[in-house]
Amino acid sequence: MVRVTFTPTLQRHIACPPVEVAAATVREALDAAFAGNARARTYVLDDQAALRKHMIIFVDGKRIVDRERLSDRVLENGEIYVLQALSGG
C-alpha cells in the first residue's frame, strides 16, 4: 500500500487525513485518495486535473517530474507527500 499525506495547511479548509491506497503512479494514488473526498481534489488539482501551480508532491523524498499527468511511479509501501510550494507565498 502507498501512504498519501496532505499538508496540514490544507486541513484548515477541508479535512484531508492521510490515507493508504493501492497505486502504481501518483495519479492512481490521488484518484484513490480523492475517491471519497471529491471536494479535496479541487484544492490540489486544477480544472485539467494537473497539479496546481503552487503545489508540490514528493514520492519517497523525490519531487515528482510530471505535474500534468502525474505519471511518476510509486513503489509498493511508498510514501507520497502533497505539500505547498513556497513559490505560492
Binding site: T9, T42, V44, D47, Q48, A50, R52, G88
Partner: protein
C-alpha cells in the same frame, strides 16, 4: 437606503452595518483569506464570496445571511482537447482553469436561480441553481474573436463586468480586459463585440479602434435607462447612449480620466462617479489627493469631490469593483488598496472614513 455594506479584502470579508446613524463592522468572515469578490443577491438574500486560496485555487462560498457558509461549486473549465492550441493574441497559452473569479452577478428577477460568473482566463459561466452547478458558456469561449483577447494588468484576459438588463434578462453585456464590450441578446446563445468609437491608445494606430482589443476597466449600466452605459477605460472615460453600439470619449474629467472604478446613478443616466488616478505606470492619486469626480450632465462637465477625503500624501488606489452605489442613488462607498473605506450619504458631496485599518480592498457592495 441600504444600511449594510460587504467589503471583500485581501484578508477577509467584512460586513458593516448602520445603527442609529453610525456605521460599524458587525462581522468578519474568512479572516485571513483572500476574498476576490462578493455578491449580495437580493432575490433570495444570499451572499456569495469568491475566495482565492493561492496554493489551493479559487473557491466559491454562499450563505443565507445567518453567518453559516457552505462551499458551493466553483466554475470549472471542461477538459481541454488534446489538439486544442489555445493562445492569446500574443501567443501566450491560455490555461483552461479558473485563475480568478473576477465578476459575479445575479440574473434577472424572473430567473431566480441564475448567476453569471466572469473569470480569468476569460471564460463566462452560468449557474441555474444559485451556484450548485456551473457551465462554461461555450458560445463565447468558442468564439473565434476570443483568441484575440489578452491580459490587461493581469497576465491573462478576463471578464470583470457583467450587466444584466433589468427590462430583459436575456440582454447581457460584458466588459473584458482586454477584449472590449460584448453583447448577447438571447441569454448567452450568441455574442457580438461592438463599440464604434472606443479608442485604445496602447495599440498601433491601425488597431486603435478595434472593439475587440479595448481595455474597459469597468462597465456599468443605468438601471432606469439600460441603453446608457459608462466605461472607465484604460485610457479614458466613455459613454454610450445606444447600448454600446457607439461610444463617446470624454477627455476632461477633473484631475485625470484614468482610473478603474465607475458607478452610475440608478435613475439618472447622466450622473456618474469615478475615482481618478495618474495613468498607466504610476497608478496613484494625482498630487497625493484622494478625490471622486462626478458628472451630472453625461460627461460634459465634472465636479471634483474631496470633502472628508485625505488631501496630503494619500496614495490610495481604488480597484474596479471597490466603488458602489446603493439602490436610492444617495449613498456611495469606496475602498482602497491602503485599506481605507469611505462612505458618502449625499451623493459624494461629503465623505466619512469608516475604517483606516482594513486589508487592501478588492470589492464593496451594498446589500
Amino acid at each position: 437606503m441600504s444600511d449594510r455594506i460587504h467589503v471583500a479584502t485581501r484578508k477577509g470579508l467584512f460586513t458593516l452595518e448602520r445603527h442609529s446613524g453610525a456605521w460599524a463592522i458587525s462581522r468578519a468572515d474568512f479572516l485571513a483569506d483572500h476574498v476576490s469578490m462578493v455578491l449580495s443577491d437580493a432575490r433570495h438574500s444570499t451572499l456569495y464570496a469568491a475566495l482565492d486560496h493561492g496554493h489551493f485555487g479559487v473557491k466559491l462560498h454562499r450563505s443565507n445571511g445567518d453567518g453559516v457558509w457552505e462551499e458551493c461549486a466553483t466554475p470549472a473549465y471542461p477538459e481541454k482537447p488534446e489538439d486544442e492550441d489555445d493562445k492569446d493574441m500574443w501567443g501566450k497559452p491560455i490555461p483552461w482553469s479558473t485563475v480568478k473569479i473576477w465578476a459575479l452577478e445575479a440574473g434577472g428577477t424572473d430567473e431566480p436561480g441564475v448567476l453569471w460568473c466572469g473569470t480569468i482566463p476569460g471564460g463566462l459561466f452560468r449557474s441555474d441553481d444559485g451556484g450548485t452547478n456551473w457551465a462554461l458558456v461555450r458560445t463565447l469561449w468558442d468564439h473565434p474573436k476570443r483568441k484575440k483577447w489578452f491580459g490587461g494588468g493581469a497576465d491573462l484576459p478576463g471578464i470583470h463586468s457583467i450587466c444584466v438588463d433589468p427590462r430583459d434578462a436575456r440582454h447581457i453585456k460584458l466588459g473584458v480586459s482586454c477584449g472590449g464590450v460584448w453583447t448577447s441578446t438571447d441569454g448567452g446563445g450568441s455574442w457580438n463585440c461592438e463599440g464604434e468609437g472606443m479608442r485604445a491608445a496602447f495599440m498601433p494606430p491601425d488597431q486603435m479602434y478595434d472593439p475587440n482589443i479595448q481595455d474597459p476597466h469597468r462597465l456599468v449600466q443605468c438601471r432606469a435607462r439600460p441603453e446608457r452605459l459608462w466605461v472607465q477605460h484604460h485610457n479614458g472615460i466613455f459613454r454610450s447612449d445606444d447600448g454600446g453600439a457607439h461610444w463617446e470619449e470624454i477627455t476632461e474629467a477633473g484631475p485625470s480620466v484614468f482610473g478603474f472604478a465607475v458607478v452610475v446613478h440608478p435613475r439618472e443616466p447622466d450622473t456618474a462617479w469615478f475615482v481618478p488616478a495618474i495613468k498607466d505606470e504610476k497608478r496613484i492619486p494625482v498630487a497625493g489627493e484622494v478625490v471622486v469626480t462626478r458628472t451630472r450632465d453625461g460627461g460634459r462637465s465634472f465636479e471634483t469631490l474631496r470633502n472628508g477625503l485625505p488631501q496630503q500624501h494619500a496614495y490610495d488606489l481604488v480597484y474596479r469593483h471597490a466603488l458602489d452605489i446603493d439602490a436610492t442613488g444617495e449613498r456611495l462607498v469606496f475602498g482602497s488598496t491602503t485599506g481605507n473605506l469611505w462612505i458618502s450619504e449625499d451623493q459624494g458631496d461629503n465623505w466619512n472614513c469608516l475604517s483606516q485599518h482594513l486589508p487592501p480592498i478588492y470589492s464593496v457592495r451594498f446589500g
